[in-house]
Symmetry: C2
Subunit: 85 residues, 2 copies
């Protein structure tokens, strides 16, 4: 019987890719007085549910979704967690 | 002695707030053939490091950063994890 999986996907820029938004946020935090902040990187966080026969199939679907739409594999990495509901 | 903490911050829209970007991504995934996808919500994922005397102080700084700059408390929730480096 198919099960629902709650999925949490984290998409981050590859370390070699510049992150201007992260740099701007870091500068903003420093101006607010948070002097010790460093290495700010901004990514995307996506929650969704998917129905699949088993966890392996759910993970395969998620991998394909990330490669096709949710992440840009040229400049971004992704990882995900999932929980059976 | 101050320690460095690696922080992972998740900013999500409050459940009552509409998420047009999430709706668009869900529609895109369905068009690609992922018919069982539902409840897509898009948030922000922020990584940073902060230096603090102890974990309590690091958590306090992070709470303030989120309230002041990283999240909009009117429409967004946030949570974070941190690890001592």
């Amino acid at each position: 019987m198919p099960k629902n999986y709650q999925c949490f996907i984290y998409v981050t820029l590859r370390p070699s890719v510049l992150d201007p938004a992260g740099t701007a946020v870091e500068s903003g935090l420093k101006q607010l007085g948070y002097d010790t902040v460093a290495g700010v990187r901004i990514g995307k966080y996506i929650e969704l549910t998917v129905t699949a026969a088993d966890e392996t199939s759910a993970r395969e679907q998620l991998d394909q979704m990330c490669d096709q739409l949710l992440a840009n594999p040229v400049i971004e990495n992704y990882r995900f967690d999932l929980h059976c509901q």
